[in-house]
Symmetry: C2
Subunit: 471 residues, 2 copies
């Protein structure tokens, strides 16, 4: 390897380590040549190589900067003619996504790695809960669930702008059950449910399992388009609207508070329930947690779903549903579908939340996933074909990648799985199997060389793995 190639490798390492982050200026040629005791010519050659490889970009009169891939532009609002309810069938592939095997680098499922979670503190909280209530495992925690936990949930909801009474809260087996119960309470088989496009496949599967029809409503960078939604509501007999207003899955978009308020008002006026899935709301990278749409609900028309699965303990299977005016139906459906939520995990989480360590944990976790997202963006800029664009989420740990139109994410998914890397291909996020050139990455995992190699390998597969249409 020649000297300038060595210099280039060294700078790449620094970028990977986060010494220089995307959008940041790297040292000037003069400074870097002094620092590295190399000739200016070698540094210039190294920078040009990195530019050619997509790592750096030159700005005239300014210098070299760590390149980010182009961000996704706000999607053009589609005309309402394209919005048609349809049957859903994404379940086969979605189930396979979760089948983990040893050695697989899982960038597919949105599951936080144990290294990012307060495993030790939670274990201690579990011990405390068992000491405090020795027979906890033995007794049913009938709906609405453990009071001590509902109290903590109500306290945290205040941060999201929601004034909740603990009695308003139904504890569930994770947000999946919450969304499921909310859909069952508000719809009947054959009904039309309006969803974001793209939308989380777990929600699409729920819709599929109930024989509902999904109506994909276009989104822009600020979430679901209210104009498109209003037109859709005029045209179709929509029985419920389901959104992830904060750090949507998979697009990462954040709906501004004004739009949330407008959305809640629009649906209340039409008496169409709004189901809000807010599992990522607490993972804001900025200091302040965004409001929930529920914060603007004065009529009980919003069914608010949350969970500790993305921030604390996926295995606890503890989430919640604030059912608004569907309280009685939801309570009945909870009995019928699982009777109760496991008692000990509820008490353990209540203990942990009461300990006051959650805020610090959240802050640390947010720093980690934000940093991981930046690194992933950088690697995508360096390794993916020109024209690849990525989302710029302000919260959560999901990245939505849009490859050039001639790329096929299903082919990439298959080629990647064969090499031990999982991703979530775009068609999973649409009942009409749109987004064929897109995929979702989850980066809630400890960052290391294997992850970097995996991202580099994904980029190489796009070029060489029959992922692009020839010619």
């Amino acid at each position: 390897m020649s000297l300038y190639e060595q210099l280039a490798e060294r700078l790449k390492t620094h970028i990977r380590q986060g010494l220089y982050t995307p959008g940041q200026k790297v040292p000037s040629v003069r400074r870097y040549s002094t620092q590295q005791q190399a000739s200016a010519a070698s540094v210039v050659a190294a920078y040009r190589l990195l530019e050619a490889q997509g790592w750096l970009e030159a700005k005239p009169q300014s210098g070299y900067y760590v390149r980010r891939p182009d961000s996704l532009p706000p999607q053009a609002t589609q005309t309402c003619d394209e919005v048609v309810p349809c049957q859903v069938s994404v379940s086969g592939l979605a189930v396979r996504l979760y089948h983990q095997r040893d050695g697989l680098i899982t960038l597919g499922a949105a599951v936080p790695h144990a290294d990012l979670l307060p495993v030790r503190d939670l274990r201690e909280a579990t011990h405390r809960a068992m000491r405090r209530a020795p027979d906890a495992g033995s007794r049913y925690s009938f709906p609405p669930g453990e009071k001590s936990l509902r109290l903590q949930i109500a306290r945290r909801a205040a941060e999201a702008g929601c004034a909740l009474d603990p009695e308003d809260i139904q504890v569930t087996c994770g947000a999946q059950e919450a969304v499921h119960l909310a859909l069952r309470a508000t719809t009947r088989p054959g009904d039309v449910v309006a969803i974001e496009s793209p939308a989380y496949f777990g929600t699409l599967q729920a819709i599929e399992s109930m024989g509902l029809q999904a109506l994909e409503v276009p989104c822009d960078g600020d979430g679901i388009s209210l104009e498109a939604l209003a037109l859709a509501l005029e045209r179709w007999p929509v029985k419920a609207v389901l959104v992830v207003a904060n750090f949507s899955n998979p697009s990462g978009s954040l709906m501004p508070d004004a739009r949330k308020r407008e959305l809640v008002k629009m649906l209340a006026a039409r008496e169409i329930p709004l189901i809000e899935d807010d599992v990522y709301g607490e993972l804001a990278h900025a200091r302040a947690r965004p409001h929930a749409a529920k914060a603007y609900d004065s009529t009980g028309n919003v069914l608010y779903c949350g969970s500790f699965s993305k921030t604390l303990a996926p295995g606890a299977r503890v989430g919640w549903l604030v059912p608004g005016r569907w309280g009685q139906a939801v309570s009945m459906l909870k009995y019928v579908s699982s009777m109760a939520t496991a008692t000990l995990p509820q008490l353990a989480l209540a203990e942990y939340l009461a300990s006051g360590r959650y805020e610090r944990h959240l802050a640390r976790m947010c720093r980690t996933v934000e940093s991981n997202l930046l690194r992933a963006q950088t690697l995508i800029a360096g390794h993916f074909p020109h024209g690849t664009r990525v989302s710029r989420p302000q919260g959560g740990f999901l990245l939505w990648v849009q490859m050039p139109p001639d790329c096929d994410a299903m082919a990439l998914y298959q080629a990647a799985i064969n090499e031990g890397i999982s991703i979530s291909p775009g068609p999973l996020f649409s009942p009409q199997e749109k987004f064929r050139n897109c995929f979702r990455l989850s980066v809630a995992l400890p960052w290391d060389g294997r992850v970097e190699q995996a991202l580099a390998r994904l980029g190489a597969l796009v070029e060489h793995g029959k992922v692009r249409s020839p010619g």
Copy 2:
């Protein structure tokens, strides 16, 4: 209180304490007068008083026996004309049943009291599970659930005559979720499901929530009548049959193995799935656990549901479903409705089961509930109106009480709740609200004076609480 009344009270206490059990002969007049140092005339007067009160019965040429209430005769098989599918709506009352309040004597819900469960051993098993898998609470236990637990379930199923591979087993949030998933996998809204009459209200609620129709099939002392079922299947488009073959809820009936085999064969031939809820199968009072109907399934046509909620830990919310040929549908529905079952409770139960203490616990628990059932039968004989009949379950902890036809169990339920006693009124167990003069008692609780007083009070309420129609 006169001497003979004192003697009578003393003997009642002995009967309550189990010194003399129902059907057993009490000491002869001569022997008791010697034992109690009372005159023979006083003992005769005491025995006659107890006979008048319903505690004893005299058998000519033999002596006095502790009276049992008349047992329920096998129900007459109804003609098939009466068997009509219908909508279900029992959920309002059923939900209220579980709303416990302090001081309530809960004879209503079929929930084992913590005193009857191995609370301490389970806590230790939980600690061991946390030591063995420190991050257990953090990671999802994706379908089909924890391998170590499925192994234990498969081992125990062998006792029920079922040769299961752990891979055949889907862990669920209790049997309620198992039955729910089984119904969803095999039916569509509007379909007809054949059930036992009477049937568990949790199942009726599930049927109600899915918009299914229930077809009540008559039962005799050996479970569902195959003749009535065959006629019903000819007449109606039944899509699934659901039974509790072992110690049915509420009637306590046990289906003989030959009838199980015949039932499985009959439904396999018609390709109508059989959903078997076997939550009471392990609570046989005799030594041998009865076979499951699943034991006779060679085609995967039986969906077998079980749980640890009745025998170990209701609060763990751990049950299972062996879905037979509906494996793929059930796996998808499990993801959709709750994603996964909580991890730590699964691992804790696996640890406990591996410790080898389960058999001893089951034997002890069975002795307790069998003894409680006998005591309850005796008290009902002593305190309820003439003509009251009770079930004679050979397993489980539920007693089905049939009062004279002019008694109203809904009125008794209301009068009893006002006095802090809960029971399950008969109409809950029928979509057509049959069984108005029946109720179900659950006696899985530590037996004490309060329980005795509650049963005596129930008997008094029948006479004085506007529970009987006047005249």
